[in-house]
């Protein structure tokens, strides 16, 4: 099993807009930078980029658009410094037609260069929703953070997001296997409903036992971290356990709780004023939560974190980029 001694690439998603993905991204970036790390933030909301706005950069000189359109040769060339020491940013492209749907080659190029960025941590702020672009960016990142709040609808959305991401991962694992895909997305031909992942595993075991190992491995390798935002009371604080419970019962996965952030009106002020430095204040309760999460991320980076099995042949076919390539070839 391959070990990644540092988890560099982290995606922050969650499905629903307004749960605080961007604030969490910036906040974690600041906290990681204050721990001595070099951090690059990437605005992965390809159709609605606003991370730079919140960082106080109103009119960035270069954006991701320039990279996607090959106006610059490398992704590193669109990294901009920010007023905050230790943090750089790649601003999203929100002003070109079709930026929300980059081509396959554009995405492959992006994913390859992400891993080459000169930083200790790259935090990708994903957009809202569950488009393939978002899910693929999420699944590609070794560190997957799902942000949500304690309200029922947010729990529903984050669970839906996790489920979509998992199914997307499995569908990519079995991209050319119509039999498994049929079980995954359709009813069992025998007429039985597959209501949970255990049922799917049982059916795969029945129809194609040699593929069961791959399925179980995909489930085992799918590690999601939960961050509860805007916590106002005990119920919100415990809400992440609800997500854990439902994921365990229906998806056969156990997300880990990374931390929680208390509701703080200062956040709204910081966003409106475009002054993230407000989040610097040490006596700020949200900063304490961010620091705790950042420390856990650093600790996680030092432990082994399986991305794929080393026993699998390291052929071109099995590398992440080529799996991605196959995915887009099959879906286009």
């Amino acid at each position: 099993m391959a070990n990644h001694s540092n988890i560099k690439l982290w995606s922050i998603g969650g499905g629903k807009g307004g749960v605080g993905k961007s604030v969490v991204t910036i906040g974690l970036g600041i906290s990681l930078a204050r721990l001595g790390n070099r951090v690059i933030l990437l605005d992965g909301d390809l159709g609605g980029a606003n991370l730079h706005t919140m960082m106080g950069l109103r009119f960035p000189s270069v954006t991701l658009e320039d990279f996607l359109l090959k106006k610059v040769p490398r992704l590193e060339d669109v990294v901009l410094e920010t007023p905050i020491e230790g943090i750089s940013i790649i601003c999203g492209a929100d002003d070109i037609l079709g930026a929300a749907n980059p081509t396959f080659h554009q995405k492959i190029r992006l994913l390859r260069e992400l891993e080459e960025l000169p930083a200790d941590f790259v935090l990708i702020d994903l957009g809202a929703g569950t488009s393939f672009n978002i899910l693929d960016l999420f699944n590609h990142s070794p560190g997957k953070i799902a942000v949500f709040s304690g309200v029922s609808t947010s729990l529903q959305n984050v669970y839906g997001f996790i489920k979509c991401a998992l199914f997307r991962k499995i569908s990519r694992e079995f991209a050319k296997d119509g039999e498994i895909l049929a079980l995954l997305y359709e009813e069992d031909p025998a007429g039985e409903d597959i209501s949970c992942m255990d049922d799917l595993v049982a059916q795969v075991k029945r129809v194609a036992p040699e593929k069961c190992f791959r399925l179980l491995k995909a489930l085992r390798d799918f590690e999601v971290f939960l961050v509860t935002n805007m916590v106002k009371n005990d119920q919100d604080f415990r809400a992440a356990e609800i997500v854990q419970s439902v994921c365990a019962d229906f998806l056969n996965i156990k997300p880990q709780i990374l931390g929680h952030l208390l509701a703080d009106p200062l956040v709204e002020v910081a966003i409106n004023q475009m002054v993230p430095s407000l989040l610097h204040q040490r006596d700020n309760k949200i900063v304490r939560g961010l620091e705790q999460i950042a420390k856990r991320m650093v600790r996680l980076g030092r432990h082994s974190f399986p991305a794929w099995s080393p026993e699998e042949p390291k052929s071109a076919k099995s590398s992440p980029l080529n799996i991605f390539k196959e995915a887009f070839e099959s879906s286009s």
Partner: protein
């Protein structure tokens, strides 16, 4: 498969689990708050799994871990938690569980039974909680349709718990920390005795009540007591205090008589307020047991704070009453209309109300006209009463609640009955406890 077929659905079971767990987290927080209330009352609690009824073994007396956290731990394991109180000697509380739209028919026959502390379900089930008297041993049973007695050792769900059979939550109509459980009312005692449901291990006073028709003849000769009963109260506390004072002065000191007086007091609230009734019963019980004047403290809202001896006050009030009587008579002389003038030319005041009073089967037009004539004559002879609407209301009240039911007036002409009502009203009006507005002292 095409892209459009890669649809991921969230099934109803998944959604249901998310929403149920989230809802239950909120409920556990509320449950913990209620549990704290019950704990302060000294009620022994049990946490039960809502569907199976299994005891979850949560120690409510332990403070090692916050109760909210312990309850949330249970609910996140998929268990719905209910709160129940263990009734009986340990809580000094028992309960009556009834179908609210059917049980009262059976219970009302026995007399007052409602509690001061009631929980209800949406489907019209109620639980009435009562203080368990020291001497009682009361097992659980179901003595009649739609009625269940929850006694020693029984577990009663308390709000905001979910009733498993119906899926509704119990809620307090009168919460115990605002309206504590009262002793079992007389009607409930009769019901329980009738079904041999409890045993009394020691003697206690018997709180039966006399019907008004049996009580009135015994107090009719005590004018002061009657006046006190009839006088519109300045306050509930004073009203009941004066009734008891006058009754004691009249030599009425037997528990049953006193309680009956308080129950039937025309201006009293006891019949509508089980809490007040419970307190009055306790007062009388203590009074008859100790022989000392009753203390009128009633929880946070005392019935009255005054503890001075009534004698000097009574003398003062009697002097005032005499003066008032003199002034009233002078006023009546001034107001008396000359013969031939007066109400004969005008409609009788509140005639419709009078007509309603005398309605009976067999009443014909001649009877009505005779009564009308007598009434007009009465009003002419009593201008002091006729000239004041409030006094006429009192006359009508005396006629309806005393004259009509008094056997002594049966068969007498309406002239005499009206005269009796007028005399009774005048007696009340001259009562020292009454402050009626007069021309010289309008209010």
């Amino acid at each position: 498969m095409s892209t459009s077929q890669f649809a991921v659905k969230i099934g109803p079971q998944e959604l249901g689990q998310i929403f149920t767990l989230r809802k239950n987290l909120d409920l556990m927080r509320v449950l913990a708050r209620f549990a704290e209330h019950y704990r302060r009352l000294g009620w022994p609690l049990a946490a039960l799994e809502a569907q199976s009824g299994a005891d979850l073994d949560i120690d409510f007396t332990s403070f090692n871990k916050p109760l909210t956290k312990r309850l949330m731990d249970e609910t996140l394991q998929g268990r719905e938690v209910n709160l129940a109180v263990r009734l009986g000697a340990s809580a000094r509380v028992f309960a009556l569980k009834i179908a609210a739209d059917q049980a009262p028919l059976q219970l009302d026959k026995c007399g007052p039974w409602r509690s001061t502390c009631i929980a209800a379900l949406k489907n019209r089930q109620e639980q009435h909680f009562y203080r368990l008297p020291e001497a009682w041993e009361l097992p659980s049973s179901a003595p009649a349709d739609h009625i269940q007695v929850l006694g020693e050792g029984a577990l009663a769900f308390v709000p905001p718990s979910l009733e498993p059979d119906t899926g509704h939550n119990w809620r307090w109509l009168k919460a115990p920390w605002e309206s504590p459980p009262c002793p079992p009312p007389a009607g409930l005692r009769r019901f329980l005795e009738k079904h041999d449901l409890f045993t009394v291990t020691q003697t206690e006073p018997e709180p039966r009540l006399l019907a008004w028709s049996m009580l009135f003849p015994q107090i009719a000769r005590h004018k002061d007591l009657l006046s006190t009963l009839l006088a519109p109260p300045v306050s509930a506390a004073r009203y009941y205090r004066e009734i008891i004072t006058e009754a004691l002065k009249a030599g009425i000191n037997e528990s049953k008589m006193l309680q009956s007086l308080l129950w039937h007091a025309p201006h009293g609230e006891a019949r509508r307020s089980p809490e007040l009734w419970g307190h009055l019963v306790s007062l009388v019980t203590e009074l008859t047991r100790t022989g000392r004047p009753a203390s009128f403290q009633h929880g946070r809202k005392g019935l009255g704070q005054e503890r001075t001896s009534p004698k000097p006050l009574v003398h003062h009030l009697e002097r005032l009453a005499a003066r008032t009587l003199e002034l009233e008579r002078q006023l009546a002389d001034l107001q008396q209309a000359p013969k031939g003038h007066g109400r004969g030319r005008r409609d009788l005041p509140c005639w419709k109300e009078w007509l309603a009073l005398i309605q009976r089967s067999g009443l014909d037009d001649k009877d009505i006209q005779d009564f009308k004539r007598e009434l007009a004559d009465f009003l002419r002879k009593n201008p002091d009463l006729a000239g004041d609407e409030k006094k006429l209301v009192l006359v009508r009240y005396c006629y309806a609640n005393y004259i009509k039911i008094d056997p002594a007036y049966d068969g007498l002409p309406e002239r005499d009955r009206l005269a009796g009502a007028g005399e009774m009203a005048r007696t009340f009006l001259n009562s020292p406890v009454l402050k009626m507005p007069t021309r010289n002292n309008p209010r």
